[in-house]
């Protein structure tokens, strides 16, 4: 019996290592191929203006800052709202909050950011604001669902042993909802990474700028680099988020 219990996690972790190695390997191969492709091309001055190491690094940083900051802001807003919406005394806010979240996601992302920019002007802050509105729903909904699916007998058990409502929330309900909430965070992060490409239309030069330049200037190498980097970044972030998700999921579940 003891042997069975010990054997299972070992098997499990071996499979996990394989899974965890696959994506970085793929991304490395793609990265190297992209580099090899670009170095075989004769780049003209226009192309070189976009495709240079310091410039591309700045684009990536800008992109990550946009997506990262907006995701943090969404977490800070949507998780507490989601918790509130599932509390006994405040359940009436649930429909309101969900309608707002749905509204944010239903409007096409470009339209939504345009709206925000029209109201607040171009710039980094406006785009973050737009991304927040656009990606709030998955975290909000997953926080609510995650908390609602916690076995109510466990809540009763916790209260029955003398945990206060707050202790029950922080020690039992939230840890048990973590996997679902994290899945929402991961979705929001991916949405933000993808949508941040649009920022180029509003004066922020993230990876979308490279793609857009490629189209505008009719330079295929630029277009390819922009597109591959944007997709690669999305995959990398999704992969990292998956690792974090696995690490933060409480053991025993």
């Amino acid at each position: 019996m003891a042997v069975d219990v010990m054997a299972a996690p070992v098997e499990h972790s071996r499979r996990r290592v394989l899974r965890w190695l696959g994506m970085p390997l793929l991304l490395a191969v793609v990265g190297i191929s992209l580099y090899a492709y670009v170095s075989t091309q004769e780049l003209d001055t226009i192309e070189r203006r976009v495709l240079n190491a310091p410039g591309l690094t700045d684009r990536v940083i800008e992109h990550l800052q946009l997506a990262g900051l907006s995701t943090l802001v969404v977490i800070a807003i949507a998780v507490p709202l989601g918790i509130l919406a599932t509390r006994r005394g405040a359940r009436f806010v649930a429909p309101v909050v969900l309608i707002l979240g749905n509204l944010g996601q239903a409007i096409p992302s470009l339209g939504l950011i345009t709206l925000v920019v029209l109201l607040a002007g171009v710039g980094f802050k406006s785009i973050v604001f737009g991304l927040v509105a656009y990606s709030a729903l998955p975290i909000l909904r997953n926080t609510m669902v995650g908390l609602q699916q916690v076995d109510q007998t466990l809540v009763k058990s916790a209260r029955g042993m003398g945990m206060s409502a707050w202790q029950t929330l922080t020690r039992v309900e939230l840890p048990l909802a973590v996997p679902v909430i994290l899945a929402g965070v991961r979705t929001a992060l991916i949405i933000n990474i993808g949508t941040a490409t649009l920022s180029t239309f509003f004066g922020v030069q993230a990876l979308g700028y490279v793609i857009f330049q490629g189209i505008q200037l009719d330079r295929t190498p630029v277009l390819i680099v922009g597109a591959v980097m944007a997709s690669g970044l999305a995959l990398l972030v999704d992969y990292l988020a998956g690792v974090v998700e696995e690490l933060l999921t409480p053991r025993g579940l």
């Binding site: 029955g160 042993m161 945990m163 025993g252």
Partner: protein, 384 residues
């Protein structure tokens, strides 16, 4: 049976009407639960057992009525600190899946702010107490336990801060009969050590009879149909409802309640040492009016039955037949009866703790006990 001391738990006209419900789920229930006893609430599904129990630790707030704990009115006390004084095993056990066994057991001590060392020692002590090796089980998660082991951890967790009162809602509910029987026996042994006041909910009358010092048979809306000792309830059910609930075989159930030591044994049996002289044994058997003689070993443990014919053989170790039904004096009459039936002998050989021969118990004695107890309790109830 009334005790002069204040009851550990007193319910006074306790009523709960759930919101939007036309009838109360618990209707003006009053009850005294004496210190150190197991009080079993038993009744059909939906009669309000869980509600009654959760009114005691205020997981459910009463609509009206009062609750006293050890003489104090706790109807308006702070529920969180009240609950830390009352161990609770909920109907579904409710172990936290993201806590290890040790963390689960440590829940209430942690809430009470015990230091780490004290908590660690207590966890190990409790694991030992419920018969689970601390070094093996401390770090496991609930999903790595069997159903029976989970039940035990549930009980250990409820006892962690040594509360004087425990509430247990069908703790042995979803368990196979054999494991259930073992857990019940362990539970009784544990209670002998800890002597807590335990409110125990079940819908199984046999479990109630086995475990309860006192049984409250509940009807609809948690109305108390009868509240008495198992023996009294079996001997004289207060109403057709109670009789119906006890069901057929009340006499047999009563045999569960009496130990072999409570009836008079036949001590006139002739015995001889199995390693002794056969000739002498034959003399003693002839001198008595008995037809058979019981051979004992050097420590007085019963070995073989022999009659006069068997004693002509010189090797007593092979003479006659081995004894069939052997029961300890602490066994119940029902166990003795069972032993007689399975060994196909009309008599059981009774031994003491060390295994030494004490006397004989025959079928008729058991039958008389099953019948006479009823008359005895009837007689006891006639007002003087």
């Amino acid at each position: 049976m009334t005790s002069q001391a204040t009851p550990m738990i007193r319910l006074d006209e306790l009523t709960k009407t759930y919101r939007g419900q036309p009838h109360p789920a618990v209707d003006r229930v009053s009850m005294d639960m004496p210190r150190g006893e197991i009080i079993v609430l038993v009744g059909p599904s939906g009669c309000g057992k869980t509600t009654t129990m959760e009114l005691i630790n205020r997981l459910i707030e009463p609509t009206s009525g009062r609750i006293y704990l050890d003489g104090d009115d706790v109807t308006r006390a702070d529920p969180d600190s009240l609950r830390r004084r009352i161990g609770y095993v909920i109907q579904q056990i409710g172990l936290f899946p993201h806590f290890t066994v040790a963390e689960n057991i440590a829940t209430v001590p942690k809430l009470l702010g015990w230091d780490k060392k004290k908590i660690g020692d207590r966890v190990d002590e409790l694991l030992d107490m419920v018969g689970m090796d601390p070094s093996e089980f401390r770090g496991r998660y609930p999903k790595q336990l069997s159903g029976g082991q989970r039940q035990r951890i549930g009980v250990a967790r409820a006892m962690a801060a040594d509360p004087p009162v425990m509430l247990m809602d069908e703790p042995f509910g979803a368990i196979d009969p054999i494991t259930r029987d073992r857990l019940q026996n362990e539970f009784l042994r544990l209670q002998q050590q800890v002597q807590k006041t335990i409110v125990f909910v079940t819908h199984d009358i046999d479990e109630a009879i086995k475990l309860g010092d006192r049984i409250a048979i509940l009807g609809e809306r948690s109305q108390i149909a009868q509240y008495d000792t198992p023996a009294n309830i079996l001997a004289s059910p207060a109403s057709p409802y109670v009789a119906d609930f006890i069901g057929a075989g009340a006499s047999l159930k009563r045999l569960h309640l009496s130990q072999v030591s409570s009836v008079e044994l036949d001590t006139g049996c002739v015995t001889a040492r199995i390693d002794g002289d056969a000739e002498q044994a034959r003399e003693r058997l002839r001198a008595s009016e008995r037809a058979a003689l019981l051979l004992l070993d050097a420590d007085g443990r019963p070995q073989r039955w022999v009659d006069a014919g068997d004693l002509s053989s010189t090797d007593l170790f092979k003479a006659g037949e081995p004894v069939g039904a052997v029961v300890e004096s602490t066994s119940t009459l029902s166990e003795a009866l069972n032993a007689m039936l399975t060994s196909n002998s009309g008599v059981a050989v009774v031994i003491d703790r060390s295994g030494a021969f004490q006397g004989l118990l025959d079928f008729e004695t058991v039958m008389v006990a099953a019948r006479s107890e009823r008359d005895f309790y009837r007689a006891a109830k006639v007002p003087s």
